[in-house]
């Protein structure tokens, strides 16, 4: 299946919801609107044979208009084709529909993305923090938060070059 045919089929079925197409990097990358993500992924799985969700992660570009992003990597194992989908959402209303009904492995991957970036996945069965402590009140992977624990007393920052 060539890249062009995939792009054309998706553009025909989801008019105006594909924002950009990038074939320059290692795999076909589509940037789509957040409302279309669930439908496009279901379409890719049922019609075009992308039966494996390799990865789901978040990203934060603080300078963009829609800073938070969710990135999906899909894999068609029969024809050996990989695909990357990107979608961006705003910080004030970081909601997107969950893909747990399509791929069960999205369950924990979405929890991890929520834990790190604060992106809320609607219809997720159990959206709680998974890796960090439950009483943590900020989303650590966002760019404005530091790596080190601000409350530690034994390490002086000047000796560590910070």
């Amino acid at each position: 299946m060539e890249n062009d045919s995939i792009i054309n089929i998706i553009k025909e079925n989801f008019i105006n919801q594909v924002i950009s197409v990038d074939e320059g990097s290692d795999m076909l990358t589509l940037s789509i609107e957040k409302n279309a993500v669930y439908n496009i992924i279901a379409f890719l799985k049922n019609e075009l044979g992308f039966n494996f969700l390799t990865d789901l992660c978040g990203i934060h570009y603080p300078d963009q208009k829609l800073p938070l992003g969710v990135i999906y990597h899909l894999h068609n194992m029969i024809e050996n084709k990989r695909l990357r989908l990107k979608t961006f959402i705003s910080v004030d209303e970081p909601k997107i529909k969950s893909c747990v009904d399509i791929f069960s492995c999205a369950n924990w991957m979405e929890r991890e993305t929520f834990d790190f970036y604060g992106i809320i996945f609607e219809n997720h069965p159990n959206l709680k923090r998974i890796l960090n402590v439950e009483y943590m009140d900020y989303f650590p992977m966002r760019k404005e938060y530091p790596l080190e624990d601000a409350t530690r007393k034994d390490k002086e920052d000047i000796f560590f070059g910070r």
Binding site: L131, N132, V133, P140, Y145, P146, L147, E148, D149, A150, R152, D154, K155, F160
Partner: protein
């Protein structure tokens, strides 16, 4: 026969007075000798140092020849808490609970850089050293420490066990130490 006597290396008995039929020494030396050669460790293995501990327990570097053949996974029956690996803040509470359940006399060895001081992970989620939550006796540095280093740390614990005064656990300094960690 003389060659055999020179070739054999035996362990020295503790200082005392001996004559045919008896050996007299002080009680704490005997108790120390018995305790140090029969420590029951609790392997609290969390990450990579745990695999080096598994290598220490197996046939090549055998921890069993120091008397620690029987690992106890229940804190109530263990003497030595060996913390091997990174302890995160989520795990720190559990470590504190496990330490509280151990009966006196108890010792703690922190194996690895992560348990001693947080190691290479100076992050928001890692406890920078387990001595923030429990009192530690011996720190073994390394990432991960070689089995020989772990055995060296274990031998230092054996020295501590052998030379400990019998009333140390009832002394006010020890009680103050436990108070400072919030352990009753």
């Amino acid at each position: 026969m003389e060659n055999l006597k020179i070739a054999l290396k035996t362990v020295n008995p503790p200082e005392g007075y001996s004559a045919p039929g008896f050996f007299a020494t002080s009680l704490d030396k005997v108790v120390g000798l018995a305790r140090k050669n029969s420590i029951w460790p609790l392997p609290f293995a969390t990450s990579c140092c745990g695999i080096e501990f598994m290598a220490t327990m197996s046939a090549n570097y055998d921890l069993g020849r120091f008397g620690a053949e029987r690992l106890s996974f229940s804190p109530r029956q263990a003497d030595l808490l060996m913390v091997m690996g990174t302890i995160s803040k989520k795990m720190g509470l559990i470590l504190h609970q496990v330490y509280e359940q151990m009966a006196e006399p108890r010792w703690v060895i922190a194996v690895g850089a992560c348990a001693s001081s947080g190691g290479i992970f100076d992050t928001y989620s890692v406890l920078q050293g387990i001595d923030l939550v429990i009192p530690v006796d011996v720190f073994v540095p390394g990432c991960p420490p070689r089995p020989e280093q772990i055995l060296d740390g274990f031998m230092k614990i054996q020295d501590l066990v052998a030379n400990e005064p019998l009333r140390r656990r009832y002394s006010p300094e020890y009680k103050a130490l436990l108070e400072s960690y919030g352990i009753k």
